[in-house]
């Protein structure tokens, strides 16, 4: 893997994202993009009312600038052979998919902030748009000749045939929404996704997939740059603009490595977050009003148990690190 361009992507993304905050946080304040905090959240979150949202634009720009500089230069200067159409499609379409999800998030945030409605797009509208973006991404891979063969670290290469497309279609939308649910307390989504990106970077290094390595480094740099502004006490929230974009990035990295299955263990926090919501709702309906957790998504449950936001970020990041290390080990030694 090309360490120079990987490092450059991380530094550029971190720098652009971090510096943008100096200008964008006051700007978002000025145009009143302060998020209305949902009444159903923990009551102490009311004090966050007025903190600007849509800060996700900061790392979206940072990651795009880093990718736009480093990927073409890497391909041009490294004298690579020419047959990289599928990988290039995976990189470009992956970025566009993330941007597409970010755009859906932006519509949602915009409705919430400008129309002063707590909830933006309704569930049906969101899902239709998300399936459209996921479908367009998978269709681009299909046109570029992507294989339905996927690698499962401890198992080997499995050909799912047509099921690959069906499972991917549903999986992408599921993962993107899971990442979206992880955004709810200061710094949580950015810190977890930072470590997820770092592990994608390590796996790219093990397998020598430079393009995905550069993209992973850009994502990690963007998340770290955003944490300067988003770490507790947050000066800006990423909003659905940012969280849906990060969901798209995580999917782009998993599919880029031909191992989308590793998103599940690497993104175990995302999975726990969305499962907590599903279990809570199911249990609530089944028991006519009883709750399984004090509040869902599960980070709110821990908040209600007295954990500080910083402690939740630290523990969730640590879980990601442990699972990430296991995944890297499985990729390296898997038979």
């Amino acid at each position: 893997m090309n360490s120079v361009w990987t490092m450059a992507a991380a530094v550029i993304s971190f720098g652009v994202t971090g510096l943008l905050g100096k200008w964008m946080v006051p700007f978002l304040h000025k145009i009143n993009f302060g998020q209305t905090i949902r009444e159903v959240g923990p009551r102490w979150h009311q004090k966050k009312n007025g903190t600007p949202t849509m800060g996700g634009f900061m790392f979206i720009i940072g990651i795009f600038v880093a990718a736009a500089i480093c990927l073409p230069l890497f391909y041009v200067l490294s004298e690579r052979s020419s047959l990289d159409m599928l990988m290039r499609t995976k990189l470009v379409s992956g970025l566009l998919m993330a941007l597409g999800f970010g755009a859906i998030g932006f519509f949602d945030d915009y409705i919430k902030v400008v129309k002063k409605r707590n909830l933006g797009l309704n569930v049906k509208q969101k899902l239709i748009l998300q399936f459209l973006v996921a479908g367009a991404y998978l269709y681009s891979l299909y046109l570029a000749g992507a294989s339905t063969l996927t690698m499962i670290p401890l198992v080997g290469s499995i050909n799912f045939g047509a099921w690959y497309w069906i499972l991917s279609f549903l999986g992408i939308v599921g993962i993107v929404n899971a990442v979206n649910f992880t955004d709810g307390i200061d710094g949580l989504n950015a810190s977890v996704t930072f470590f997820v990106s770092i592990f994608f970077l390590l796996i790219s290094g093990v397998l020598g997939v430079s393009g995905i390595g550069i993209l992973s480094a850009a994502a990690a740099g963007g998340c770290l740059g955003f944490l300067i502004w988003n770490f507790n006490p947050a000066k800006v929230f990423m909003g659905d603009t940012g969280s849906l974009f990060l969901g798209g990035m995580v999917c782009a990295l998993g599919f880029g490595l031909n191992m989308p299955i590793i998103i599940l263990p690497l993104g175990i926090i995302y999975i726990c977050e969305i499962l907590s919501v599903v279990l809570q709702v199911t249990y609530f309906k089944a028991t006519h009003g009883k709750r399984l957790f004090k509040m869902s998504p599960i980070h709110h449950h821990f908040e209600m148990c007295g954990w500080s936001e910083v402690k939740i970020c630290a523990v969730f990041s640590l879980v990601t690190i442990v699972l990430g290390a296991v995944v890297v080990w499985c990729v390296m030694v898997g038979v």
Partner: protein, 169 residues
């Protein structure tokens, strides 16, 4: 009418050619003939792909529609409309590389073929170290010849490996 595609392979001991032939057979490609480079063209054949495992015969690459060569040992220049593909055991810049070669105590050999947007694992119950590079070259040629990555991996995983004892072409 020329209906058979000639895949010419230049390697000293014929092992790459024998693995490639096995892949072609297992994938049911009957319209291709794998033969040592330098062998005369038959009347029904069209020069389709040159796999220059050693760089030898590379000067003849221009006659073929497709040209596959080691990244470190590119000799001859591909034609203007020629599909040119490289492979390498060490250099990630090649179109196809091999990563993460490992051996279990019971002799099982596992490695990943990485390239052109695809990654897949090859597992063999036995095998000599040279098999990895030979399999990589054969896989690069097979995929350049239009066989899907899934089929190539399946063939590499299931072909009777006495690849050591596969009769060289």
């Amino acid at each position: 009418m020329r209906s058979v595609k000639l895949i010419a392979v230049s390697d000293p001991n014929g092992m790459i050619g024998s693995i490639l032939k096995k892949i072609m057979d297992l994938c049911g490609r009957t319209n291709c003939r794998v033969a040592p480079a330098g062998e005369p063209l038959r009347p029904e054949e069209v020069p389709y792909l040159l796999l220059a495992g050693t760089g030898e015969f590379a000067d003849a690459a221009g006659k073929f529609q497709k040209y596959v060569a080691p990244y470190e040992n590119q000799k001859g220049s591909p034609g203007p409309n020629q599909c040119f593909v490289t492979y390498s055991m060490e250099d990630d810049r090649a179109d196809y590389t091999v990563k993460n070669i490992r051996r279990s105590p019971d002799g099982q050999m596992t490695f990943e073929i990485v390239g052109a947007g695809v990654i897949g694992r090859v597992k063999r119950n036995s095998g000599q170290a040279e098999f990895v590079e030979q399999a990589l070259a054969a896989a690069a040629a097979a995929m350049t010849a239009g066989i899907s990555f899934a089929e190539v991996l399946d063939a590499l995983n299931t072909m009777p490996l006495q690849a050591e004892s596969v009769v060289p072409t």
